[in-house]
Symmetry: none
Subunit: 225 residues, 2 copies
DNA sequence: AATGCGCTAATCCAAAGGGATTATGTGGAG
DNA sequence: CTCCACATAATCCCTTTGGATTAGCGCATT
């Protein structure tokens, strides 16, 4: 059966360009088009469930109601529908908000202009949300830049020891990070400063660094503090 | 110029399969291969910077040192190198940790088996990290499932000069934080190591600390990185 | 009993760091 | 013009590190 598509964009020219592209391929059926988020939701309300589109291509920037809000509402009201953002913007904030709102995919127009149909077919085959490489890269950067963080760890994760540091070594790394000297560490832990030093050097080996400063930098950067 | 590639995988068969695939295309040069993270880091240590690979294809599951740790250390020690995870696993936790550790791309072996070369070429052309659709989808789900949250970075407008450090001193503090020696700082800034040292000692005075480690700790704590 | 690993400890040596001080050149503020 | 802050540079002296090595002890696995 054909894939039922809805197109939401405030520019008539965009709507028709996309529509034409899709109709050149068999297997697509344009369900309806809308000019903005509000228009989309109203048109959805008039449909009976069997007439719902299975995919909505949604522009982000629109008057009346933008794509983020439309997806937020739509993914709640019609959770069976897949919402794919199709926009020229790659602003991190927008990407993040759209995804949080429930977007199933996120395509940059220029990246996929020639390939919307192919992308949608692929999506329909393997159930994986389409994401432009550029967007995926942006998301990856979001994660890397610590602008994003893992909130919950699910199961009782065995909390892997970073770099195979032993407990003692982690303990000593913590003191190292506080700027303590070997002798101070030794005194603090009631061991010889020589031993403290030995541990520290062992840590260097595991971290593949060769100075306190490098160890600290690595520890901070990788968050194994 | 050819793209210099290193391959890190514990299975010799995998290494040669990947190697063969790449060598069938012009424009790739296999820099070296390694059996695990430790092996990789050791081989890197023996290279001069001009011999560094520009891309490292890294398996995730390896004995001795796994891909996450290797990338964590590698992305710190050799930040110019791009690390692409190439694995059969798509566990969310692993994806997240690998990305946090500094992975530039993340490919599923089965998805890209026929297409590693193409993916790498694309990456080299547009500077965008390669990510398998399946992985991108997983990341998107991570964001959606509230397992991840946006951490608002607060950017203070006032741009306070921390601790009355001069511009030069801040510049030097940054290098200090990267774990550089006096002589390295001196070389980097084209000044005498003695001068570098003088600056560092002046910084200590202003920060009221008396060692690199303490300075770093304070710098990180106060966020004047 | 033997093996392996982690924690403890020590020693020697060379390199780097920390502290104090002195000195020169420059540019801006008074 | 002079004063002062800053960047530059050097020297002396002592402490701290980093690297390599050796070794005993306890504990768990085999």
């Amino acid at each position: 059966m054909p894939v039922r598509i809805a197109i939401v964009d405030d520019k008539a020219s965009n709507r028709s360009i996309i529509k034409d592209k899709l109709l050149r391929h068999a297997g697509f059926e344009i369900c309806f088009t809308a000019e903005n988020g509000k228009d989309f939701l109203e048109k959805m309300k008039d449909l009976s469930p069997e007439d719902y589109p299975s995919v909505v291509l949604m522009d982000l920037e629109m008057p009346e109601m933008d794509g983020v809000d439309a997806v937020a509402a739509g993914s709640y009201l019609y959770p069976s529908v897949k919402y794919v953002m199709l926009t020229i913007f790659d602003d991190e904030e927008k990407i993040f908000r759209a995804i949080k709102a429930g977007a199933f995919g996120y395509l940059l127009k220029e990246e996929s202009a020639e390939n919307i149909a192919g992308t949608l077919i692929q999506m329909n085959e393997n159930g994986v949300g389409p994401i432009s490489p550029g967007i995926a890269h942006k998301i990856l950067q979001l994660v890397q830049n610590n602008t994003v963080s893992l909130v919950q760890k699910k199961t009782s994760e065995k909390e892997k020891t970073p770099f195979n540091l032993t407990e003692r070594e982690q303990e000593i790394l913590k003191l190292l990070i506080q700027g303590m000297l070997y002798k101070e560490i030794g005194h603090k832990l009631d061991i010889s400063p020589n031993t403290a030093k030995k541990h520290v050097l062992n840590i260097y080996g595991k971290l593949h660094v060769n100075s306190k400063a490098q160890a600290l930098a690595l520890a901070y950067e990788k968050g194994l503090i």
